[in-house]
Amino acid sequence: MASDFLTIALSKGNLLKPTVKMLSLVGLPVEGVDEDSRNMVFTFAEPAVKYIMCRPTDVPTYVEQGAADLGIVGKDVIEEQSKDVFELADLGYGYCRFVVAGPQELQGTPLKGLNYKRAATKFPNVAERFFRSQGLQVEIIKLHGNIELAPIMGLSDIIVDIVSTGRTLRENNLVELFNIMESTTRLICNRVSYRTKHKQIQPLVELMQNTVRSGRMS
């Protein structure tokens, strides 16, 4: 981090393609930046920038600890991890929502009907905070994938998950019960980098905000 390079942690997966597009629209070099490449670090001399390829869930960690100055990652990940990072811009793409979902019988249940239920989720912190803020006691069961399976197999009564179109829910006969929050991709920044590299970072933030406003990303 001591270098003059601006180091940006990129999320692999769905977000990578639009992220690369965003970077090129704001005039940053993106030649060869691709997750199929075996490189995990991409270095460009002019302007001096370095990209590192991370799992989305690792991006906030790299940024919080200063191993990267900036990171591009979904709000869903940021919200789950509550890391101490600055959130500088909403990049607009990668839309999804956190929802509470359950089997069709639960459709129309009031919120308080969820009291003392069991909820399976990949996002225990988001789930816990939501239920608590509603004054509910819900047992959280942390799983690592295929959350929809939990209510089918009787492991949980409901689930907390992210959905974008809702197709996966429908295919598993689950319905959305409550909306927790919406999420899009964000530009995050290390607390110290924001100060020590302000001259490099602030113009970039403004360029990205303008790009989002101009609609060129869609």
């Binding site: 200063g66 101490d84 959130e87 110290v192 980098s193 020590t196 302000h198």
Partner: protein, 394 residues
């Protein structure tokens, strides 16, 4: 084996690490003393009431709490400023002010441990009690900068702000307390996304909105102070800006201006700050190194109404940046068969100020030479004298 573990987030410091710490402490102490500051020590734990009345409510989740058998709720000190304000208010009320105090203490916070974040860590800092005004702030900020310099940092920055600029803006906004504290939190965390959403939904005049949105991103030299649209109409804000202006000029005179930037997003987490606040950073570490500011109401909580300002610096974080001291001090190893002669020679050298170890195992010259191989900081002295009869042997 449980008996080999230590509680989460704590550390053992080994001799090399302690040497780095002590070296930094000595340099800082010399500097503080040269400005007239005197060291104080406060208890490791305080009553919860003391800590909370000073820092405001939000700190409890970060405290180590326990009870004494008289039913008092105790807490390991999470920082030193509140304790020193209490100490000064109770023991120094009949002294002349200003009083200049410094400390070097361990403090405790129940945080998630990670690099540069420990549950017990060392702070050193100063408090200038009973002095208001620009010169006092300039003294404290200058000492902060000089401390970082003295401890070997070159490339550091200190960000300055005057929180009355932001607070008066919030007051003028007419928002309720809940909204104000949320906005404050968002500016502090630089959550620009949520901030702009909240502001959009709020019923505020555009000038105030625009000014609030600018706060977290304004960063640079004095010129940025001209970019806050509403400040011209608000007396408190324009006074605060003038004060920042004067401090900036004073810091030029003090010779530390190269390290100073203005950053209107620096608000500091603690509720007790009332005026100029600042934070110090190095590009070599992703965490802040020092923080401080003016806290004119804190001592009043303890019954002695005095203005005050100060800063605290995290020694453990600084050690990560400054790194290990390279050269080991030279030392002697004195050996021989005659214990009395060894003791006498060792004492003679110590009196000259040398570091002297004695061979207490009765090794031969060859054995000692073998032990010291590759340890160039040692100089071996082997005394060939034979022991006298009746001398205590090995």
């Amino acid at each position: 084996m449980k008996n080999r573990e230590i509680p989460k987030g704590l550390r053992d410091l080994l001799p090399e690490e302690v040497a780095v710490h002590r070296d930094m402490q000595q340099k800082a102490a010399r500097l503080f003393t040269s400005y007239g500051y005197r060291e104080v020590v406060t208890p490791t734990f305080e009553f919860l009431e003391v800590v909370e009345s000073g820092t405001g409510g939000d700190i409890r989740k970060d405290l180590f709490l326990f009870m004494d058998r008289e039913g008092g709720i105790l807490c390991l000190r999470p920082e030193m400023t509140v304790s020193i304000a209490r100490l000064a208010a109770t023991h120094m009320h009949d002294l002349d002010f200003p009083q200049r105090l410094y400390y070097m203490c361990n403090v405790f916070r129940h945080v998630q441990p990670q690099r540069a974040q420990y549950r017990e860590f060392w702070q050193l800092g100063i408090e200038l009690l009973g002095a208001s005004g620009v010169w006092a702030d300039a003294e404290v900020i200058t000492i902060a900068a000089k401390t970082l310099k003295e401890l070997g940092l070159r490339d550091f920055k200190i960000s300055l702000n005057q929180i009355a600029i932001f607070n008066s803006l919030l007051q003028e906004s007419g928002l309720n307390e809940e909204d104000q504290s949320q906005i404050r939190h968002l500016v502090e965390r630089k959550d620009l996304v949520e901030l702009s959403r909240r502001l959009e939904r709020m019923d505020l005049n555009d000038e105030v909105k625009e000014s609030i949105a600018l706060m977290p991103v304004l960063h640079g030299g004095l010129e940025i102070l001209n970019r806050i649209p509403y400040a011209e109409h608000n007396r408190q804000a324009s006074e605060a800006i003038q004060e920042l202006d004067r401090i900036y000029e004073a810091l030029k005179i003090c010779g530390v201006i190269d390290h100073i930037v203005i950053d209107l997003g620096v608000l500091r987490g603690l509720d007790y700050y009332t005026g100029v606040v600042f934070e110090g950073y190095s590009p070599d570490l992703g965490y802040g190194l020092l923080g401080g500011g003016r806290y004119d109401n804190l001592m009043g909580h303890f019954g002695l109404d005095r203005p005050a300002t100060g800063f605290a610096l995290g020694l453990d974080r600084l050690a990560l940046v400054v790194g290990q001291r390279q050269e080991l001090p030279r030392r002697f190893l004195v050996g021989g068969k005659n214990f009395a002669a060894v003791v006498a020679e060792a004492d003679r050298l110590r009196q000259q100020g040398c570091i002297v170890e004695m061979d207490v195992e009765g090794c031969s010259k060859e054995q000692l030479q073998c032990k010291l191989q590759g340890r160039s900081e040692y100089h071996l002295i082997y005394l060939e004298e034979e022991p006298e009869v009746n001398q205590c042997g090995q």
